[in-house]
Subunit: 346 residues, 4 copies
């Protein structure tokens, strides 16, 4: 298969994005973001989120998460997150190394934190023996493909702000959430109290580049130094900027995320015929978490690559991308049929 | 002016590089470097440096320097470097933060370290009160545009290896050095004992992406974790790889660096007519370090952007790029004439 | 009450230990451990653990834990520990800050790790996105007063060593464990595969000072630098050394820990008459974890200080010390009676 | 010799200090500084420095320096210090590791910084590529035994405060400075604008323990967490407190430092007869920096231990302590005579 279901970053770059890159490739501009293209891209963010937001580009999502979170943390403070969070499970301890801070991971059944889950870990405040919680980091969509409703987020941010905590959102797949919720980005970030946002694009058709968005200028004050020290300051910034400029124009991002979500839903519908495949999470965005017979999973993996998610429970992850087609789904379904027959599951 | 002399990273991407990016933009490939394009790009490096080298791509030069150096350091160890080194002056303390190690900066007159300069700082070995030197980091070309000769490097690496130290080269402008020396990359890196190389491309026509090259596999053993933790692991790696693949094909890099060096030399020749401009360093690559009357510098900076280098001595930096033309130089010369006349310097 | 049940570090120094300090207070000796008294103290450790162990003194238990663990870790590696571990709950994130590494806390019901509990967290090995487990840290006695049997430890160390992991023991209360098990220190540390030991004394009659003991010289190789960088190298080392020398002489430590354990057992026996007090953990050393009616706890805390342990479950901690007496217990019992009556619990 | 001239921390504890320790060794008190003895010791500091100072005890001078400085630093900020500073030369990179910040060492001829020396290193402010100076750290007495006059300090603090920098003083030998200047501690710290002080005692008759003194409560706000995370929070704090309480009573510290300074002066006078011994620094406190014929130094070092200071220039350090006597000096003089004769220097 030309396209497969391993991850949304296995896809390439949308041709329109490439064109945007090409369009800014002329002459000299001052490096490190002091150029007209970066200015324009930031304005696009400000159209989405309001003029009072501060926006900084980074190379990658891990870079956005780590530097964004670290910028408001003292090393003696801690970050509360879901155990499944990318910052906890998939960044090789980058937050701990760069910030020197502790992560407090909380088990969830669907990737979502709630005040009830957080509360028991908010303890020993003012007690110098214990790392002091300062940031709650949530992921939208979660690593399990589920989507926080605005009200769910607001409950967390209200609770946090009453305690002088800040809320960070890892929005590596924020476009897929926006499409699912069918509301503007602002409505489930700034408007419901999120303080810092890692705004992702690479998983939805960009080549590279993410953004850290601060909804409170005070928090952004020293961030430029932290981005630099965090090895996230691009010299030829215009090429990240151009991508985001094109991404927002005519809500281009929406088409891409919409396709990914729809195809994921289509795949979810199509696999219903297989009694031996079980969805372990609601399909609210572009990923499926499926429980399969181990021998079937292995047979499939001989042909196409996808990730084990929870080995001990035979759960696997299938991701759809901006470029995944219904034909790709049909190919996948045929492959499942063929392998299942061979294994005498059907 | 469409092009100016502020930095070689003010230029854009060479169209051939963009084409190479476009060419790999099809279908899905596994992310994070486990793809055919990354394999091919690494093979290009191995053609240059020998099959036994380990090559890893990062997003930027600071990322290559910091993660490359940190990968062989314990935090109680120290890095010896020139005071002018990028890692000391221009990375906002990234080495210290990521590695926890001390930098020992040494004053030089031309950006080059020598054994004689290093020796007094190699002290208190085995004495636990003092950070223990472990890495010597040199820059090629130096931040002052000068170029180490292979023999100069070998003197340092021999001395270092006799003391169980390692030598890192920051090769952000390595192509300009290779063109000046007119020898292969290998001849002034691996062959003369360099252990770890940050191989740059962004300053010579690439969009983004650098490489860390280990000349001893043992040193590379754990680097993949450090790259990830250092926020330098690209998900869509193929787009960095494609650039380097094209960069090496038919020694494409050489054309670019050659132009930059030649134009810099041309600029150096043309300014000889101005008695009030003095070169403070030999022009061995693509940068000029010039001493100007302050009022002239300021008058020029009203029209075009370039960096102050050493304010107290009225030294400024003019960089040429892969795309700088002789016409650009002539425009600059005219601008100088005009401003100098106005200031009654001529 | 002159003595209370808050913590074993609320007690002072045993007079014999003070005498030992006084005895070495004469003339000059070289600082930082290069003196005859430090040599003698280390020999005491070697008598206990074998001549091939490496011993280093630190100021405090947190210092021993953090520098001992960090000495064998790369920042991309992780430490597996019980959620209740001192390094996780009571050191304000010191391991994360000093080592840059992730902690992987595991919930336990009695403070003890087992292979079964650890196994699900030993995952993603060789996968650069995930921090790589390298050290398992266990506490003896645990923070819940329970004691690992030698066989329980060996199961963990065998499993660990098969996977190239190392095992650290936080022995802040190791003397209480030795007394409970009634075997030499060596029998439940070195002999069952522990690699690095934080050997505590402050909680058992010393003034200050702990030791890091390496059971494999290879691991100790660079530790002296790490101790210094970790701010744990005492200039007037002889005064720590003298304490440990006296501590081991005629198994002096045993008398102290034995008293603490016995008095704790006595307290456990005496409170059996109160139906409203429930032990939540077996009393295997010098601490009791008791579930009390909240109003009783608060009434008691008006008179004497002790720590809330698990507020949401009304669990409190009562610790006995080397100097706690049966009379102290009787005073406590009387206080409980009086308060319970007043609250009409009896 | 019972006493020698290696370092002022080769001496033991003054008997009065030991008595003070003994005096507080009764019953239980709450740990970690929440006790009456710690309160009393802090009051002693407040008598010296004013009621509005915040005082925290640490285990050692390195711990005071590192946690005190780090408490006001972001990792992207830098510390300006003399190249000879203890934090730069003798703490094994502890500041860099714990704070993640860069040190900017400045060469001096006598260990003293001046505004003129600092100024060229205060650059690139607001420029994110460069670590931003935030703290100037001076040492009193300097590592070369010289003493800043109050006016010299005020020039630095005024300059610093105008630029929003803070000034830290490493006062490991602050008592020797106070005796030399013959003014109160306050007159050359708080009164002349020092912001944070590491107040040492170990080198002047204490067993262990130093203090971090903040002259601005705002700066002290989070320090308690940083002390804990920095492994400097003593559980049995009363034993540090008792030492400082006794240290201040009847200006006891003064007797000790006075003796050390006077004996150093006496030694300086007595060696004048040796034409082959040259003082390289003024003797303003308790240390002598002497240039000796190498063979003489080595002959002396066969008998007694002292440190090489600057090997390439044959400079050695002789320190006097609170307990050094004129007889000790005479023994030293006799030893020099004897060795010099043998070497035919006389």
């Amino acid at each position: 298969m030309e396209r497969f279901f391993a991850s949304d970053n296995c896809s390439g770059v949308h041709p329109e994005i490439l064109k945007a890159i090409e369009a800014v490739n002329k002459g000299h501009v001052v490096g490190y973001g002091d150029d007209i293209y970066t200015k324009k891209a930031i304005e696009q963010f400000q159209k989405e989120f309001g003029e009072d937001v501060d926006v900084f580009f980074t190379f990658l999502g891990t870079g956005a998460n780590v530097t964004g979170i670290s910028s408001v943390l003292n090393p003696y403070q801690a970050v509360i997150c879901a155990e499944s969070a990318h910052i906890n499970e998939d960044e090789c301890g980058a937050v701990e190394r760069f910030s020197g801070s502790k992560l407090i991971p909380i088990e969830t059944h669907n990737g979502k934190l709630t005040v009830e889950l957080i509360e028991p870990h908010y303890k020993a405040i003012g007690f110098e023996h214990h790392a002091q919680p300062k940031v709650i980091s949530i992921t939208q969509t979660t690593e399990l493909g589920t989507v926080y409703r605005p009200g769910e987020i607001k409950k967390i941010t209200d609770w946090a702000h009453q305690r002088n905590l800040l809320v960070h959102m890892d929005g590596a797949r924020i476009a897929n959430a926006a499409v699912f919720l069918n509301i503007p980005f602002k409505a489930f970030t700034k408007d419901v109290g999120v303080d810092i946002l890692s705004f992702g694009g690479t998983k939805n058709g960009l080549m590279y580049g993410e953004a850290v968005v601060f909804f409170n200028s005070h928090l952004a004050q020293n961030y430029k130094y932290i981005r630099k020290q965090g090895m996230q300051l691009a010299s030829k910034m215009r090429f990240i900027a151009a991508q985001f400029d094109a991404y927002f124009k005519n809500t281009f991002w929406q088409n891409l995320a919409k396709n990914a979500n729809e195809v994921a839903q289509y795949l979810a519908d199509e696999i219903k015929v297989f009694p031996f495949i079980e969805l372990t999470q609601k399909v609210e965005s572009n990923g499926l978490f499926v429980k399969l017979p181990k021998e079937l999973a292995e047979a499939l993996q001989e042909e196409i690559f996808f990730y084990d998610w929870d080995e001990s429970n035979n759960v696997y992850r299938w991701m759809c991308s901006w470029d995944t087609t219904k034909d790709d789904v049909q190919s996948m379904i045929r492959l499942i049929q063929q392998k299942a027959k061979h294994l005498q599951l059907i």
